[in-house]
Symmetry: C2
Subunit: 884 residues, 2 copies
Amino acid sequence: MASESEAQRALQYEQTLMYGRYTQDLGTFAKDEAARLRLQEGDTPRPRRPSELLEYTQGRCAPCRVCALQCQRFLISKVGEDWVFLILLGLVMALVSWAMDFAIATCLQAQKWMYGGLDTNVLLQYMAWVTYPTVLITFSAGFTQILAPQAVGSGIPEMKTILRGVVLKEYLTLKTFVAKVIGLTCALGSGMPLGKEGPFVHIASMCAALLSRFLSLFGGFYENEARNIEMLAAACAVGVGCCFAAPIGGVLFSIEVTSTFFAVRNYWRGFLAATFSAFIFRVLAVWNKDEETITALFKTRFRLDFPFDLQELPAFAVIGIASGFGGALFVYLNRKIVQFMRRQKTINRFLMKKRLLFPALVTLIISTLTFPPGFGQFMAGQLTQKDTLVTLFDNQTWAKQGLSDEFEYLGILEAWRHPRSNVFVTLVVFILMKFWMSALATTIPVPCGAFMPVFVIGAAFGRLVGESMAAWFPDGIHTESNTYRIVPGGYAVVGAAALSGAVTHTVSTAVIVFELTGQISHILPVMIAVILANAVAQSLQPSLYDSIIRIKKLPYLPELGWGHHEKYNVRVEDIMVRDIRYVTLNCRYRDLQQVLHSTKMKNLPLVESAESMILLGSIERAQVGALLSNQLSPQRRLLTLRQKVLSEDGQRLSDSSIRFQISTEASSGTPARPALRKPLKPALKRVPSSPADSPPAGATDHTGIALKSLFCANSATEPTEAQGTAYHKAKRVRISIVEEMILGDKMTPAEILEWEEQQLDQLVDFSSAKIDPAPFQLVEHTSLHKTHTIFSLLGLDHAFVTSIGRLVGMVSLKELRKAIEGSVTAKGVKVRPPLASFRDSTASTSDADTTALRQLWDRHQHHPMPREASPGGEDDDDDTPKGQ
Amino acid sequence: MASESEAQRALQYEQTLMYGRYTQDLGTFAKDEAARLRLQEGDTPRPRRPSELLEYTQGRCAPCRVCALQCQRFLISKVGEDWVFLILLGLVMALVSWAMDFAIATCLQAQKWMYGGLDTNVLLQYMAWVTYPTVLITFSAGFTQILAPQAVGSGIPEMKTILRGVVLKEYLTLKTFVAKVIGLTCALGSGMPLGKEGPFVHIASMCAALLSRFLSLFGGFYENEARNIEMLAAACAVGVGCCFAAPIGGVLFSIEVTSTFFAVRNYWRGFLAATFSAFIFRVLAVWNKDEETITALFKTRFRLDFPFDLQELPAFAVIGIASGFGGALFVYLNRKIVQFMRRQKTINRFLMKKRLLFPALVTLIISTLTFPPGFGQFMAGQLTQKDTLVTLFDNQTWAKQGLSDEFEYLGILEAWRHPRSNVFVTLVVFILMKFWMSALATTIPVPCGAFMPVFVIGAAFGRLVGESMAAWFPDGIHTESNTYRIVPGGYAVVGAAALSGAVTHTVSTAVIVFELTGQISHILPVMIAVILANAVAQSLQPSLYDSIIRIKKLPYLPELGWGHHEKYNVRVEDIMVRDIRYVTLNCRYRDLQQVLHSTKMKNLPLVESAESMILLGSIERAQVGALLSNQLSPQRRLLTLRQKVLSEDGQRLSDSSIRFQISTEASSGTPARPALRKPLKPALKRVPSSPADSPPAGATDHTGIALKSLFCANSATEPTEAQGTAYHKAKRVRISIVEEMILGDKMTPAEILEWEEQQLDQLVDFSSAKIDPAPFQLVEHTSLHKTHTIFSLLGLDHAFVTSIGRLVGMVSLKELRKAIEGSVTAKGVKVRPPLASFRDSTASTSDADTTALRQLWDRHQHHPMPREASPGGEDDDDDTPKGQ
């Protein structure tokens, strides 16, 4: 088992690093395991209150105690209410956020102190400046790797996937929580250009999951999946809200980033939790005497009467458009870095071995370049992220206003001044350097986000444009009555919102900047820039989070983009797979075998008969495998053998037969059928089979020939394939039973083959299989637009296409994705130019419907008994669905 | 037809007034009519460009022209893009909004001027003060009634219903647009406490619908229903956005008010359109020299450094809680007034006759009470709504600060001062009077909203609390370093957001106030107050819009409220109707007749057979009626008769027979079957049958006896029932055919009865019927929560409940509504206490599924041919579904 867990850890590392790949099996496994855990939890004893009450009524001060108990019970019942949960979540997250901020500030202070204390020797200064972040980042990377590799990265892509209904294993556990909190604190404390927004979304979600599990000890209301998803959605809002003290922006940002369809009834949940969290977060600052009262995090003091001139709007629009291109470039750069690292086999192999080398190297490069006495002097290298933002949002104009008045750089503003160059050069260098540094730094496998670095770069770009405008119009743009100077700080606010909006494809960054700066006077410029930036960025690149989802191969559904109105005219029949395998209700085991041979579909449709093709439900592939292996199990074979022997030998062996049955049950622990089904669950885990796992050869060589041939056909070169492992494991259980038996297996391989052939000809008994009775159905004429809506609304993975109850095809996420992305090339998918299927909807729909119905009706009239006609001719039905 | 259209107008009046009732039939009719119109539009000739191109290439300066044409074509193709539409919409709405604001301001100015000019005589002054608004309101009411009664009221409830997928007739037409714009301008120009937010949502939606219809002249992309709904959602955001120049708040408010589930991919649409609209709206003000640059509508100038003290937060919380109660009271009062007017039969009858009396009376009362020299002096009666808000958000403190400094009321602030009382009395009187006035005024049948009046009342209440606080702590609440005085204007902002949030059940009023005032410094108090107000109001009353939806009997689905977690444990099987009628594929016409007799369901499920109960689709009731009337039509009877005669008389009559067939087709204009189906469409309109409508008696007395008995059974006392009318109309068409025939009807009633009995025994031919092949299906174990989600996500009206393909029940909006509202008392609905069905989900689900499947499987094994077993025993199946 040690090797297994190590292999698993390696897999998790793969998973969470960008080098990893996503497998659906893991999700299924996690779901099953969650269900198992839930069942186990259900077994824990609940407080038995009625009996306690009875006990107390015997005592003397019984009324008091009864009253106290009732109060307690009332409180416990209140614990189940949503708002209690949300307020608790807000409180906990505010405390976590504040504590982390405090720790990060201390770390940064320590670096500054060290750097300042060593000002006698530049080399020592450099060593201190470089070593400190390298150690912190390396520790963060190592700690996260060892404790929970799932904590790596932003977390928003994973939360988006989880909220889509996919269960990602180990993403919401205490271990990951601890790893993420400590890893993030160290990473941010290093002063690298990393953000905390994404990780905070993840931390808040984990916090919600843990809190929900903790509170479920008191009440039974936290075990509902739908409710948990609602709570996770609220938690995402809390994450952003308490990170920036921006409740409204937090709610909106989390909606835009994680949801496709948002339930308005969850709105208040997010607002309540995020507001409470932001409130507590800021109150803690007041109590800590950092602030006098609750105000914005990066408070600005722009003038209110005349925030900007109408004629400045083109400049704001330019910021928006440029930010759009910049944002797309950032996403592209980030993805290319990851892909480069992954493709270069030698680099990849080397990095996989020395995992901590990459983070250390990147940190070294970045911190060397920002070293203040070195190149850092041209890019305000000594400022922390927070200080940089404060200075960029500054109220004053830095550029020279004519010749007379040289601007006095005071305090931390001095970092932007360089004696031999002007502020424009500093800003340009800052933007260019920070751009690639941020794109590179966010690929380090530590818990980190990209929002804040991008926000800072955007602010610097805005400031640059603002300073240029101020230099161009030193006395402000002329208006009739007064002259108002240009406020470059306002441009910085606009730029920050626009660039972060472009990278994340969100509009709500506008709201976040208002809440961050505490001023809403620049609302129109900000909105215009953000919308333009989004328009440009969305037409060039996916959002950063979608890009990471694709890199990590998480399941996703692309959005229907801007103005793709031709999509409205593609229908399901144009993209569906028509040539699908199915299971009939009256089929034989041989048919099941053939179906498993011929398809890799995760869910098989169950139809009434090959003639009627009426869809009854869907059955999981694993269930079909279980049915088949159960039918062909050596156990059944031996039982048959025994019965044959019994009938031959009469009463002689009856006693030992009974003994055998008892021993079988005792050894497997559960009745025969469940025992066979159970090993299938962990089987879905994709574990590389170690030698210890494989059953001893020879002893099992002649068992289950037909079954083996089945699985070997699918996985001849890959013995570790999911069902293969399942089969091996199931076999192992059975072998132990076999070995315990006194009689032993006395059949020859030829006899076994004959017996198995007999068994395969029997009709399938579906009574033990788990069947989904209502798989989602579409009709042929459903538009692509509607299909997309339904898939994203309900979080579907696949849907069957029916025509008056009859199965005619199937659409999965893959087909839909291809249809939307415009490259429908898969086998069995009909390629049609989107506009070719533009036709009058009402007429053709009813025509086609009635045609199909008439066929059905005619069939009923003319062939009253299709089922009886060909009872043996089912075998070839699996290959050619006659329905269409 | 004159009487019909008059009756229809009366119906519309009923519909749009609060006295009205909603009928589903109307929606269905509108849908059908829209489909018909679309078909007609499809026939209009499209520009044939290729041929034009060919023509031009013959000329001399052909290249230029080709180029120009290509440019034109490019432009036209661009017109189809979403963003062009959204920008056009924003532009148009900004112009409309600005023009209306200008007209309203002029109206109000005129009243003020008249009142000011007549200051020599109080009586004349009073006459002018009272007559002016009365005339305007009466004109508005009359104009709206005559042109388009749909324009009455807010429009948000109707938009919510339309966005849910229900088609409301005539709600998005040009006539309604004109009526609403002119009616609203007059209503607001009168100075009554009415708002413009709700009507603006409606106006923007109409604008979008008209623009979409206009642009579809250039391209074919505007005819998609899903797209239209997306555009309407964006239009709602534009409405709010350009009304308050609040793009973000507008988008959020419109989402909260109109949607249950919001597609995040529509987000940018709303933002783009609303931002552009708000921008143009404010730019128009700058160009008109009203403003120097673009700023907020009600700009405040609170101090930024220390907006409020932490110790003031309890006061803000009190405002929130009190506003919650106040908001609930407002909704209750508004509803009670409508219900009182409706219940009092005599008042109701009188008002229906003299429709303009009620508006005039209400206006008279309200304007009398606000007459400035009269009672108005105690409630700042001379201020318009806008001035009131400006004064309430004022930066200064009005109450006496100690004895020394009496506050100087300058300019319009003077209205709040009364020499013989203090500002507290004025504020209290203002709040109390405006409260009932607004609740009453919003029931007047003119286009008007309630948001602004409520907003003003909230601001006054906040101001009252603020002034009290300022009087209580004249030097501000003590802090260590400085003393900051309390800002009552901030309290007014908080109060405005809280009360309007409570009435509309939205959180986004917080964002609206930030955008309205241009300051975000009070974000935390506002958020706290709004959330508390929502919490209180939502637990007491529905939102104002939901209240109106209920009053108007529009279809709706209640929300799952705060913390109703027990809802998660109710399942579909607990609430579904099990005893439903269905149609089998191999049924006889007699069965159809019985089904129609026994149920009033709008959609009948079509199952394969009564034994298998496999759901194939659903068929509309009207379609079943059409099948039946087609089968029993006199036409078919005569044809049969003719054929019998023919076979008896040989070749003799063959010529006339052919002539008869031709004449039939010529007279009906269309082939026989469509002609019979078509009259069913307008039949769904609920028109009171005038005597002219009913067919001449005697001549048709002995036709279709069986049919008549069918419809009379359903509508014995109500001859105007929908199907009844349909039948009459269809009969009339047929009668004209009958009368044209040469042979005439020579069968006796007994013979007809016999023939019809024969016909009823035939198997139904479904090939001509329109069948919905994929009605929405749920399974028995679907939770109430999930059902609610799916119903609101997909805008469903009903869903069938199936178990492995077999129909076992049905859930409609009604059952769901009852289950949520907690009074499940309808016939056939099983009443269970919500928590009784609390059980372990995983175990029972799989058990029940396998049980049902095993039954199905057993059936297949033991009864291989259930269909053949009882071919004649279908009649009683309609009453007892054997499935469950």
